[in-house]
Amino acid sequence: MSRRSPVDPVFRENIIDHYRNPRRFGLLDSPDFVRRESNFSCGDDLEFSVRVRKGAIVDVGFAGQGCALSIAAASMLSERAIGMRTADLESMADGDIVAMLGVGQLTGSRLRCATLALKALKGGLADWNKSRK
């Protein structure tokens, strides 16, 4: 059987901390758009609410449930997104999320957990842009 370090990078303290105490948790009162995304295979289910002013994201709040990675990613990304140009958020890739989490490599199903928040924010933003045209 393979021996590994007792604390794997995926379950580092800051991931567990964001999971236990997610930042920006709670939906906004008057968002410009909301977006819900789920990972049915493992039961991650997150909803984001976002406010946009002059091409920048000014507020994000999320709610829902999920595994440590999906919640930690939602928490960190929500914090980071505030103040970002929408175009910059739209150009973020899965690799940026993995780097933000600092968990090393992620495969298959775990990558889907980690990137659920980004998928929700980008999808919501794309639909919102379309609806304003």
Binding site: M1, V7, I16, C42, G43
Partner: protein, 406 residues
Amino acid sequence: MKRIDPHRLRSEFPMLFRKNSPTYLDSAASGQTPKAVLRAMDGYYRRYRANVHRGMYPASERATEEYEGARKKLAGFLNADPREVVFTRGTTESLNLLAYCLAPTLKPGDEVVMTVMEHHSTIVPWQQLAKRYGFEIKYIGIDGDGQLDMASAREILKSKKIRIVSLIHVSNALGTVVPIRELVGLAHGVGAQVIVDAAQSVGHRPVDVRDLDCDFLAFSGHKMFGPTGIGVLFGKAGRLEAMSPFLYGGDMISRVTFEESQWNELPWKFEAGTPNVAGAIGLGAAVDFIGELGLEAIHRHETEITARAIRRLSRIRDIVIYGPPDGTDRGNLVSFGLKGIHPHDLTDILGRKGLCLRGGHHCAMPLMLLLGLAGTTRASFSVFNAREDVDALARAVGSAVKIFGI
């Protein structure tokens, strides 16, 4: 009675016998393949590879003999007649075949009954066909221990409108054993036909179709030491004769003109096209492998290991073990969770420690919704699992508690 020696048996399973092999605790999802099964399939491909039921040369005759020989082995194993053993791709195909063939005989107002523990391969076909044919589906619930609610079963199974009762034998999500024989009696009492999903029972405990008296029974080869892509549909001869074919094509006909076709005899009426010859031969070898170990011995070993797992795991703080309590008749698996840890994280942590388990809804999403769970982590056991595997599991679950600081 024979006894299982898991350490000695490990050398029979190439995937488990390498250096740094992981601890395989996921036999309920798919088993491992013993060398005897690999050899049987290899023999077909190397020595007598040909189509069956057609060629007039030795290789084809040998292939037909071995293919039909495998059917006879399965018939003996189930206490069925070879005419009643149809080879399919697996449980899912067997259950779909039944739903597609039987649903058109149902009318609006008719009822189909199943348990809340059914696998998606039972729920989804009937649910979708109900939209087309207008019959109703009723579910028998479970009690707080995860046992089938027999009072509710007796009440539901009084209706004369029931035409089909589809029952999981052993729940792959909870380990619950459903009392098939008693329910078959009730179902037959109102004139319904009974389908049994035996994916988790065949190969793990004695399954005798005459004793169960079910009309149909479905299972997969890959969960009983056989290869993937092969499984069985058992049907009582009279029932299969009354049914129209599921797939049309070669082999399933006796005579074809441009206008009309006549169906072949059982079981070939339900085996259109070139079958999975190597798979059937491999499954036959799996039946022999089980016979050599002894089904009673397998059942006893898996029961002991499962009981040990429940005992060891239940000492961990904040653990929740789902399904019937220790000491009751149970399948060879244990589903559990830790309060405050998502099942996906727990299963991932165990995987990083070299323990292969399954986490999630186990293709029983409606049951998970009913229980209010995002999923569970499930360990399942086979003949090659020893006590050390269970102890390693308990230690690893304990360390997950530490990682999450709960």
